[in-house]
Subunit: 281 residues, 2 copies
């Protein structure tokens, strides 16, 4: 890993208060290799992630209450789906609790905004994946004035308190905000309009949203400024290069798993005795 | 596919009323190749399955109500988890609704046995995966007399009616019963006692269950005899060879997806108009 990373991805991508308006979305912070090197490294690192995930799962089955929760945020076409497919796709589906948060349903709208989030939290031993999350309630909701400012205003503290509880309960949060340029988004939307196998990913409303780009930048800035905590920090991911985004998320997850210092759980039975029993069964 | 399959897996593996006591669990019905050929073919066929699943997902996002539900049954160590990891692991996690049914929770026990099944059914456009299922309620429940015979006796018809409803609603059921020999199970349990990375998969109760093997065979026979219907047939899978089991499940899923005659959904918008709008946005 040290071969290509000048510094750890954890330090290269950590939100540090720098304005995202100045972010080079085509950059590869901390990584010194090119696309070929990055793709090759991803192929090497995916099995490492998969092994760590299996260890978490094994411990979960043996009574360990801990879990990992990947929170993915980003504008349309930022590549959240690609991360799920290509990064999360490399681990055992049994150990993944995946949830995508779209426009709230009628039932969800009748509850507190964290209601649907609570229901989708990863079980002990699981790798949870949120494709969008409770942060939508201070992003799209703020940008489109869906609730009065006094209401979204208090959500930042509420979210911090909520995440503090999660961490206290044993969940490691890996929050990643993916950023692409306005031009890169135009390119990706154009591709969806060119390829019949991509039409289904396109919604005319995606174009309308482009007019709100500056408002979204502002809302994202507030998220990073107000909800990047020491117990649940944000990582800022330049995502114009899909290969880099996938590699970086893989590394951030590996780093999070390594902090759990996972080993295979010990046998909860007398091995010699069970061997004797099995021989006779 | 015709290269190695003397007949289609669908016909080679379809439950045909033959007694499972006479099944060669080390066989590879319909497949003429060896392990190397099977492993290579699996590598070729996984992307085919993945593409078909993406098409189902795309259609689901565009209003198609259909889904596919893989039901996996089998004794401990039969390899259900390996199927999830190696077969389902090759498709996009976003499109998979996975559920494993263990011993019912207290809450589940206070409901009808189909309650937890209903809650876990795949959403439109999803590939559902049941690792164990409602069939546990006529397998372990019958073997261990957990309810009176009059009660499990009526469940076969109930299950058929339930599955008929699912099919009517647009769900394609792929029900696969995996069979290994008693010796193969001993080998696999022994391995779990040898390898520290496998201890967590072992429960002493797994050995106790071996005494009930004949009763389970009888219960499985009743399942095949009474719940293999034209709308939701059972496939009988010899599973001593893991490579064969994985390949066969992949082929059965591909066949099920092909029957849906999926194509990419058409654009639900005027393409030229959206291109013009995007150019200006």
């Amino acid at each position: 890993m040290t071969k290509y990373w000048a510094v750890t991805p954890t330090s290269a991508l950590l939100a540090d208060g720098a304005p995202i308006a100045e972010l080079d979305t085509s950059g590869t912070p901390g990584f010194t290799g090119d696309k070929k090197a990055g793709t090759q490294l991803l192929a090497e690192r995916s099995p490492v992630l998969s092994d760590l995930q299996e260890k978490l799962y094994a411990n979960g089955r043996s009574g360990d209450r801990r879990s990992v929760l990947l929170v993915l945020q980003g504008m349309d076409t930022a590549g959240k789906g690609g991360i799920v497919r290509h990064v999360i796709g490399s681990v055992d589906p049994q150990g993944v609790d995946h949830a995508a948060f779209g426009v709230p349903s009628r039932e969800e709208r009748r509850h507190h905004y964290l209601w649907r989030i609570h229901k989708a939290l990863p079980r002990a031993g699981q790798l949870g994946v949120f494709d969008r999350s409770h942060y939508e309630d201070v992003l799209v909701v703020r940008v489109h004035n869906m609730v009065p400012p006094t209401e979204w205003e208090r959500r930042y503290d509420e979210i911090n308190a909520f995440e503090h509880e999660l961490v206290d309960e044993g969940t490691t949060l890996v929050k990643i905000a993916m950023f692409i340029s306005l031009d890169e988004q135009k390119k990706r939307l154009a591709e969806r309009l060119e390829r019949p196998d991509k039409y289904w990913k396109f919604k005319p409303a995606d174009i309308d949203e482009r007019a709100f780009w500056p408002a979204y930048q502002e809302a994202y800035q507030a998220v990073l400024d107000r909800t990047s905590t020491d117990y649940a920090p944000w990582y800022v991911l330049p995502a114009d290069h899909k290969w880099f985004a996938r590699l970086a998320v893989t590394e951030l997850l590996i780093a999070a798993f390594l902090r759990l210092k996972l080993d295979w759980p010990p046998a909860l039975f007398d091995i010699a005795e069970q061997k004797r029993r099995l021989a006779q069964a």
